[in-house]
Symmetry: C2
């Protein structure tokens, strides 16, 4: 009684933790070798002309994960609207792993107002949503304008701000479920659009 | 005393829930309009020749999210190794949203053994990892062989099974943080490889 019960997973994990990752062909890089810029350096570096507008994202874990992706692609800014959790929400910080400090962000309760201002500033407003007029992501063509990508609630999708979108794109899917996780979708759309815009070069 | 405290977010959420999503230009599709196949139908449909091998993924939420992506891209199979949580783990089911029933999967404690068998069967073994010899994802070239994509632990990366990889790919990143969430990375890599292999057509 009172003894710890070890499962197969616990034993595997203990073994894994103590394993040296020396490999024949490939050697995993250390954090130092990755040579990432410090937050202070990042503030001097150019960011891509792309804003993520998150409209009523329910899960703070998803918000944190999107921050981490926004950091990796060095997006201009993240605009958090409606019920979307904002830093320093505990669950946002947990999945953002520090990236809320490196990515510029703002909270605007009213997504329509926020989107309206961005539209007036000349941003091309792209809803990521399955609509009657959505084009498949691979058909997206850049036209030189800065971009706003709008992502909506996990269950209900994008709210009334959808009216302000110039167009909609969707990720083609062939499965049983009707959608991807919103943070995964944001990663795929960012990758494809950055690639098409020439923002992903030799790394 | 004892009264519920309503925050701005609660009020916005109530307003949002009761909003009709009628929009000027774009109309969100209903679930019925998405016309996804039922699980029974899916079992008759072809799947892409690509296996996801998850090596010691710590977060069951990530595993569930990867299942959902695997469903969307209709991948051949998911192999869960080491400490990776398996269905019907509660957190896997929570983020998989039913996709554990539509994606073939198996558990193999020993990732090296599982990878060894796949390699013998002629699969091209691709580690998704930052190594000294990784090529950037956009440089990946298909060669007609079926693929295994190996993803590793959120903190320590891929374990000894890295030795069995024929090559490694990495997602180029420009941020302060050193990596993307593993489920987001899996989505991006799957998208790019499916696109390159011609598995993403008109949707």
């Amino acid at each position: 009684m009172g003894e710890a019960a070890f499962t197969l997973r616990d034993i595997l994990w203990q073994a894994f933790k103590n394993t040296t990752l020396g490999c024949a062909g490939l050697r995993k890089l250390t954090t130092a070798e990755l040579n990432r810029p410090a937050v202070e350096q990042l503030q001097q570096l150019p960011r891509i002309p792309l804003v993520l507008l998150l409209d009523n994202i329910r899960s703070a874990f998803n918000v944190g994960s999107i921050f981490r992706t926004a950091d990796a692609f060095r997006v201009e800014r993240v605009v958090l609207c409606g019920i979307t959790a904002t830093p320093p929400h505990r669950e946002v910080l947990k999945t953002a792993l520090g990236s809320t400090g490196s990515v510029p962000w703002q909270y605007e309760a009213d997504a329509v107002g926020a989107a309206g201002r961005l539209k007036q500033q000349g941003y091309r407003m792209v809803a990521v949503e399955q609509t009657d007029k959505s084009r498949n992501l691979q058909e997206f063509l850049p036209d030189g304008r800065p971009l706003v990508l709008i992502f909506g609630n996990e269950v209900r999708g994008i709210g009334p701000v959808l009216q302000l979108a110039d167009e909609a794109v969707q990720i083609p899917q062939w499965g049983f479920k009707h959608s991807l996780n919103v943070a995964v979708a944001a990663g795929i759309v960012l990758w494809e659009i950055c690639r098409k815009c020439g923002w992903i070069g030799e790394g």
